[in-house]
């Protein structure tokens, strides 16, 4: 697989959210606005790429039985770094994302990629894979956030188009499920016609 393909596959063909259905909790939980989705996506990308690098570097030093705990520790460290840095420098976003920042640690996507990819491939590929998947994740979250923000508040990235409120339901929990459901249906159809 060429590195470019490796990188681009995350956007649509193997999009972690739309196609692989991984990391759905943050995808649903934080996407009340496009910006929140974007922020969460970047945070996840950072963790993904960093832990991919570290894992691919030290993979041969890890005995099997403690492989998963070790990976988890590595990932958790990066998550905590994100947590601390974000709280220090982006306190508003930190508040908005809330519980879902520490939960990056259990995002199936991160651990899955560390295990499936980084623990087997060389560092460069791992980085590219991490970036591709991360951006795909970011793309998905931003898109879902934009849709929900547009329908729920009549705005995108905070810029309002309408007076008053939109359809509140899209800001609330049901809207997350419904929005994602129809987005996946849409992506499926697009993929098929391609």
């Amino acid at each position: 697989m060429s590195q470019i393909k490796n990188f681009t596959k995350g956007f649509v063909k193997e999009n972690p959210v739309f196609v692989l259905l991984l990391g759905l909790c943050p995808a649903l939980g934080v996407t009340t606005s496009a910006f929140n989705g974007f922020g969460m996506g970047l945070a996840t990308t950072f963790v993904l790429v960093s832990s991919n690098i570290v894992v691919s570097l030290i993979k041969s030093q890890i005995p099997d039985k403690v492989r998963i705990p070790s990976f988890i520790v590595i990932i958790a460290s990066f998550v905590t770094i994100v947590q601390l840095v974000m709280e220090a420098f982006l306190p508003d976003l930190f508040k908005a994302l809330g519980l879902f920042i520490p939960l990056i640690v259990v995002n199936c996507l991160v651990l899955g990629r560390a295990e499936a990819f980084a623990s087997k491939k060389d560092t460069l590929s791992s980085v590219i894979d991490g970036l591709g998947m991360g951006f795909g994740f970011t793309f998905a979250l931003t898109l879902l956030g934009a849709v929900r923000e547009l329908l729920g508040q009549g705005a995108i990235f905070g810029y309002s188009f309408i007076q008053g409120d939109g359809m509140l339901v899209f800001v609330l929990a049901p809207g997350a499920f419904i929005g994602l459901g129809y987005l996946i249906a849409l992506i499926n159809t697009i993929k098929k016609t391609e």
Binding site: S60, I62, P63, D64, I74
Partner: protein
Amino acid sequence: MAKKESSFVNMVMTLMVVTAVASFTLASVYNITKGPIEMAREAARQLAITMVVPDFDELMTRRYMPAVGRDSLEFNYAYKNGELVGVAVATYTDMGFSGRIRAMVGFYPDGRIVDVVHLEHQETPGLGDKIEKGKSDWSDQFRGLDPSETVIKVTKDGGQVDAITAATITARAYCDGIRRAYDTFSNHVLNDGGSAE
């Protein structure tokens, strides 16, 4: 590329090393960010205070227990040129629609409300979150009210505050928080003869 086998020593060593390295790194990051995090928190508090009291050059902080309620309130006395110009009370209510609402209420020394800003809440976006200054001007109606004259309750409950449409519960709760602040304020500030000391 031979994998290490899972012997006892290997396992413990590996995990120990990994955790040690991880915690070392984290501790470093923690130490670096500790300052900024506190600054950010402080800045947020400062911002809220400046929004609800007149211009000041000195702050003094005290905590008082309210007559009703589990936790104490934080009183920020604001002085300009040594003179008390206002008190910013960080108050709370547990009557909100979902969880505790915290707000900062500013009083003139005579007990009139300067302004109110929310600090923290989990009310429903689009409904209860209209208490936020940025989302709606609903909370502006408290400006200049004197709680000793105006009943800080929603009209449905016989007060003089207009409720938020379709979010009476939140409005009711917000009033409760403001009253808690005022009652404590009047106990500790007004009844003390208007001075903090």
